[in-house]
């Protein structure tokens, strides 16, 4: 899979404060790439650098294998940090400015994207009269203008109500399914877990881990098993690994195994041979939240 964006050793200082330290990763084509990290971890700084708003002190990045340029940015729909629009212009007039600069989309596309983000009814109102959620919707509409194949979204659900959050999540999944590549920064783990295929986790400017979301989340296999006699089941499972625990609340036994070694059919047949009939057998992913806390030591 070719990479849409390759970040190579980017370092950024604000005075004496190091915001990013030798950050490197690649964003595969067609992926939803989540950049995760607590507040102040460098997510927005990183996105600002790849969009030429900030200058890196060191390192480089390539869009589609080429150094960043205005022509490439025109092909990328971006929402960086806050919705930035002319406060005295309406949604339509602001999108005309976006269209004029980027060259993305035609006249009809403006109405289409405004309908998509449910802002069509207020299309003629001035930007300064919008609520925070409406401003965010307009920023998303601007990024969708002309249906760019790559989107950079910095905290896209900021300021949105729960319905708005769900709608944007659906939109991201829809875009992913139609072959778009989305690079998304967020500190909302639930949001990332639900839509991302790949992640990079940042902590105080360092990339702690990056890769396929399943690989990052699953540092070990967690097998959840249940049967009528939990104690007998636990004893049998100990032959696979000594790390076995009984959860009396969910009436299950948890077996922890090194990553990629769990063989569910083998566990099932072993239990059956020893006279235990399983009524539940599941290989679980660790929740991103738990993994995130582990990695960032929070």
């Amino acid at each position: 899979m070719s990479s849409v964006l390759a970040v190579n050793g980017i370092t950024k200082f604000y005075g004496r404060i190091r915001a990013l330290n030798n950050v490197s990763f690649e964003v595969p084509q067609g992926s939803v790439f989540g950049i995760l990290g607590p507040n102040g971890s460098g997510k927005t700084t990183l996105l600002s650098i790849i969009l030429d708003v900030l200058k890196a002190n060191n390192g480089s990045f390539l869009w589609f294998g080429h150094p960043g340029s205005p022509e490439q940015r025109k092909k990328i729909g971006s929402l960086l940090e806050t919705p930035n629009f002319y406060h005295y212009l309406s949604a339509i007039d602001n999108l005309k400015v976006t269209q004029s600069i980027s060259g993305r989309g035609g006249k009809e596309d403006i109405n289409e994207v405004l309908k998509k983000v449910k802002l069509y009814e207020r299309r003629k109102s001035r930007f300064k009269t919008y609520s925070l959620g409406m401003k965010q919707r307009l920023a998303i509409a601007a990024s969708l203008l002309g249906d760019p194949k790559v989107l950079v979204l910095d905290e896209p659900t900021n300021g949105l109500d729960p319905v708005g959050i769900a709608e944007i999540r659906e939109l991201i999944v829809e875009l992913k399914n139609s072959g778009h590549t989305i690079i998304m920064a967020s500190h909302l783990l639930d949001e990332v877990e639900k839509v991302c295929t790949h992640v990079a986790i940042l902590k105080t400017g360092d990339v702690i881990t990056t890769g396929d979301v399943n690989e990052v989340l699953q540092d070990e296999d967690v097998v959840e098993v249940s049967a009528a006699d939990l104690n007998a089941l636990a004893r049998i499972l100990q032959q696979f690994n000594s790390n076995v625990s009984i959860n009396n609340v969910s009436n299950t036994v948890q077996l922890l195994l090194p990553k990629g070694t769990a063989k569910l059919d083998e566990i099932n047949s072993t239990c059956f041979e020893k006279g235990i009939v399983l009524n539940h057998l599941l290989l679980k992913k660790k929740r991103l939240e738990a993994r995130f806390f582990e990695l960032t030591n929070n």
Binding site: V53, L54, E71, S78, N84, F85, Y88, V97
Partner: protein, 269 residues
Amino acid sequence: MTNLIKTEWLKLKKYWAFWWMTGIVALAYPAMNYLIYANGYKDQLDDPKVGPILRMLPNPFTFPDVWQTVAFISSCFIFLPAIVVIMFITNEYTYKTHRQNIIDGWSRKGFMTSKMIDVAIISLLVTIVYFITASIIGTANATSTSGKFWEGTQYIGLFFLQTFSQLSLALLIALLVRKAFLALGIFLFYFFPLEVILEGLGRKHSISMREFLPLEISDRLIPYPRWFVRDQKEWDALIAQSHMHILYTILLLAVTWGICFWINAKRDL
């Protein structure tokens, strides 16, 4: 270039402060010129001491001198369009739209060029107001001894150059400071009284370098109206000096915009 002009027009055409200020300029320029004509010149014609001397000089409010007279008076009010320039550029920083323009696909050079276009458009509008004002006043005062309409129209170009130069300085201050009220305060304080005081001190102590004060460089493109300077030698020297100031103003413009482009290229947005 066409794209930059089109985009800036999209931003400007619904910016009401811009149209308000254009309206104020359109009213203020003719009003101030008429006021000075009625109270500063016409009244003096009846003065027993000054009147006879003034009558010996060509009427500064008809062709060809009207182009220079109106340009000189109007140039004292360049701070009005400067307010629009400062508001327009600082708005880009306040609302971070300068960042969005880059994100959407403009180069930093393109963004700065667009600001240069804004300053040129505003300078052009101000020059059009000046042209209409001078045309009406000149025509209204025309007599059989007046010059032709197009005589002395080199001042149209010089007025545009002066306006463009001084508005460019306003933009530079806005770009450096980025805060609307601070930039307005600095520019207006420098426009009046600081440079006036510095120029006055320079004159008092015969410091020739005072002609290179940032606003004075282009102020000298349009010398005082002839009836201000009754000594022919002094008048001739002023006119001769103004020719050199075309070059100085162009150099100042190059430096001003050079700094603007350099700052915008280097700093984080």
